[in-house]
């Protein structure tokens, strides 16, 4: 038996999504498993976003505050730094200050931040709430309007608040991140609920819930692989959306990204350790079908960018 290249034949493909206004970014659209260009059309572009927040978070790891320190608390400057110096493909603005336990900023205050950030950058913007389903709905209603027709990404729609998100995403021409927690069936269900309510499935980005090395990575990894396989093999239109990996947030709060070498002598230097923790988590999700990644450390971004360029 002679060797023949073992190509898979797929029945479906991943939706391609376009975002941004001044500078447009395209992702998704592949017709094969991640980066397997030998068997068909693989994705060529994986946008990497850097995360900023509407307030000075106060509890970010030193490896991050050493870099962003001066601009944390000034979202427009922070966004500019990420775009100009660290070459982020997108900016991800997380409105943690709107969380009731974290300052409870109003939708109007959030809207001002969004406005300032939009004026400061040319790259596309991702706008996330604070993961308080009720407050997020109220906030997104306003900020989606503030950002009208900028081709932004808004999120995260969940089972409890998807109707509001869908309505404003449609009204103001945004793409929508749909979040479900590590459950492929609920992921599909949420996409069905969204499309049944009139939302265009081509504008959905799936968030299967990120995790990081040692804190449930394998659950996210396998759910993502299964989602991608059902999209390609079963031609399941409700699973053919591109996927987002929101890695920075879950990575940088753990002990392994923060503990100094004095505190943990066997663990090596803290900054490269954190960078690698974030990079390897992001890399593994790219292997599992991630099309868009949200990071915190600029060096993780650079390393992932260099890696993707090699595919």
């Amino acid at each position: 038996m002679a060797f023949t290249v073992p190509k898979e034949v797929y029945n479906g493909k991943i939706n391609q999504v376009e975002v941004g206004k001044d500078q447009q970014v395209i992702f998704g659209g592949e017709e094969v498993l991640p980066f397997l260009s030998f068997e068909g059309k693989a994705v060529s572009n994986v946008p990497l976003a850097l995360e900023i927040q509407d307030i000075d978070p106060g509890d970010w790891a030193p490896s991050l505050t050493d870099i962003y320190g001066p601009v944390m608390g000034n979202p427009a400057e922070w966004a500019k730094l990420c775009q100009d110096e660290f070459k982020a493909d997108m900016i991800c603005l997380r409105l943690t200050g709107t969380h009731p336990d974290n300052g409870d900023k109003s939708p109007e205050e959030a809207g001002k931040v969004v406005e300032a950030v939009l004026s400061a950058i040319k790259v596309p913007l991702i706008i996330f709430g604070s993961n308080h389903t009720e407050k997020d709905a109220a906030v997104i209603k306003h900020v989606a309007e503030v950002a009208a027709n900028t081709g932004s990404i808004i999120g995260k729609a969940q089972e409890k608040n998807y109707k509001t998100f869908a309505a404003v995403a449609t009204a103001y021409n945004h793409k929508l991140v749909a979040l479900s927690d590590l459950d492929i069936n609920l992921s599909k269900q949420l996409n069905i609920l969204l499309t049944q309510s009139g939302f265009d499935g081509k504008n959905i980005i799936i968030d299967a819930m990120s995790s990081t090395l040692g804190y449930g990575l394998e659950y996210t990894y396998s759910v993502m692989e299964r989602i991608r396989l059902s999209a390609l093999q079963q031609n399941d239109a409700m699973m053919q959306m591109p996927m987002i990996s929101d890695v920075g947030e879950v990575t940088w709060k753990i002990k392994e990204a923060k503990a100094t070498e004095e505190e943990q002598p066997g663990w090596g230097a803290v900054e490269p350790r954190g960078i690698l923790w974030e990079s390897l988590a992001a890399l593994s999700f790219l292997m599992a079908g991630g099309n868009l990644v949200v990071l915190r450390h600029p060096k993780a971004l650079a390393t992932i960018r260099k890696t993707v360029a090699e595919f």
Partner: protein, 448 residues
């Protein structure tokens, strides 16, 4: 495994002698069909039966062992393309490359790094498993001398990297008992390298960078020469080619039953790459996608823990939750009046709860109960996390001596247990904690 348990049963002696440690031949046949036991566990299979069963029961990716004593590393023996289909069996071995033309002191230092590379996580000892000795000197005497020295300084498994048969032979003379992996047989030297592998009974790497068809042809020549324990190097040295070659090799073996590529694969993520971050990320590609051996140029501590953890995560059995040991854990420096919380020993639960308690900055005691690796709700439903067990654990861990107060914070999801726990632990008060771990920091801070 191609045959069903019933079909395998036909070839067994059917004496139920129990030598295989299973109660009946039928039970053994079923375990063999489930690939949970190897045929050689039964000493009484006929020669004919062995031939047929071995042929059919051979895993699509051959099992290749490297090393000796208690440092044998098993590679290959894989049956699925995705971990969620069943599980991946053998985590890839990590190797540190050591060039033989370094100074003796540098060599000793690097060997020490390997010897000190062990870290523990979730009850597993994780370490750099191999040392890959590279013939950069071009001097057979030097190479074999360094091989002997390294073998003496470390019990790690060895890879011997030289393309010169005479040099390889010199090193094998010193180290054959350690069953090192020979690297490598090429189009030019394969008959001599195959002869060495046969003579010294060690596994052999087959190298060709001329495409996978050329690689498989070369493999066929080597197996025709009588060597069966092989490792493959397709010469891929970029992220893209690594992913592509590893995927094609694994797919050919598993989906097409293409025996010529049915062997574990070795990768060199650091070759031609001076940035250790890039080397580590490329190693990550190998870990996720089908590499069996990963040779690194550097093993800095800050890279090892994330690589070990990624490897552990990808190679976890999806059906068997990882568990931490039942114990009373300190978070920060708790005092006798610090809060006491209890949770189950599913490793994910443990890490998440631990992380949130740490985030609260309130020093606390975390009592972890053995729930056979089930999460809080699942364990409670299966009656593996109940009041008598919790009470027993409190007594067993001598909590009443270590902690002044008598308040136990239980996970919000099992608030129904409050009354029962207080019954089983007279004098104790049960406080119902939050349902979501993310609310622990606020809960603990409000308590203080």
């Amino acid at each position: 495994m191609g045959l069903t348990g019933i079909q395998i049963f036909k070839y067994l002696p059917k004496t139920n002698c129990g030598d295989c440690k299973f109660p009946t031949c039928l039970a053994f046949a079923m375990r063999l069909a489930a690939a949970q036991v190897r045929l050689d566990a039964c000493p009484h299979v006929s020669e004919e039966g062995k031939k047929i069963l071995n042929e059919v029961s051979a895993p699509p990716v051959r099992l290749v062992k490297i090393g000796a004593g208690d440092r044998v590393i098993e590679t290959g023996d894989e049956t699925v393309l995705f971990r969620h289909e069943k599980k991946f069996n053998h985590p890839p071995g990590l190797a540190l490359a050591i060039a033989d033309n370094l100074s003796d002191q540098e060599i000793e230092q690097k060997v020490q790094e390997v010897n000190n590379s062990t870290m523990e996580r979730v009850g597993q000892q994780l370490r750099v498993d191999l040392i890959s000795l590279q013939d950069k000197s071009g001097d057979a005497a030097r190479f074999s001398q360094v091989a002997k020295k390294v073998a003496g300084l470390s019990s790690a498994a060895l890879i011997l990297q030289s393309l010169k048969p005479e040099t390889m032979k010199a090193a094998l003379i010193e180290t054959a008992a350690r069953k090192p992996l020979i690297y490598a047989a090429t189009q030019d030297n394969y008959s001599q390298m195959a002869a060495l592998a046969k003579e010294y009974q060690t596994p052999l790497t087959v190298y060709s960078d001329q495409g996978l068809e050329a690689l498989s042809d070369l493999v066929d020549k080597v197996t025709a020469a009588g060597v069966e324990d092989l490792v493959l190097d397709s010469g891929a040295r970029s992220s893209g080619k690594m992913l592509s070659d590893l995927t094609q090799i694994r797919r050919a073996a598993i989906k097409k039953k293409f025996k010529s590529l049915g062997y574990p694969a070795i990768v060199f993520p650091g070759e031609g790459e001076s940035d250790p971050l890039m080397e580590a990320v490329r190693a990550g590609i190998g870990i996720a996608k089908y590499a069996s051996l990963i040779v690194l140029n550097s093993i800095r501590k800050e890279a090892l823990l994330p690589l070990y953890t990624l490897r552990q995560n990808i190679y976890t059995d999806p059906q068997q939750p990882m568990q931490v040991a039942e114990n009373l854990y300190k978070v920060g420096e708790p005092a006798a009046d610090s809060p006491l919380l209890i949770t189950t020993n599913f490793s994910l639960t443990y890490f998440i709860v631990l992380g949130e308690v740490e985030n609260s900055k309130v020093p606390s005691w975390l009592l972890v109960a053995d729930s056979e690796g089930l999460s809080v709700l699942t364990a409670w439903a299966a009656d593996k996390f109940n009041a008598p067990k919790i009470a027993k654990l409190v007594k067993k861990q001598n909590i009443e001596e270590k902690i002044k107060h008598r308040n136990l914070i239980i996970p919000g999801y099992v608030s129904v247990l409050s009354g029962e726990i207080e019954e089983e632990l007279p004098g104790w008060k049960v406080l119902v904690g939050p349902r979501e771990a993310a609310n622990l920091p606020k809960y603990l801070r409000d308590m203080a």
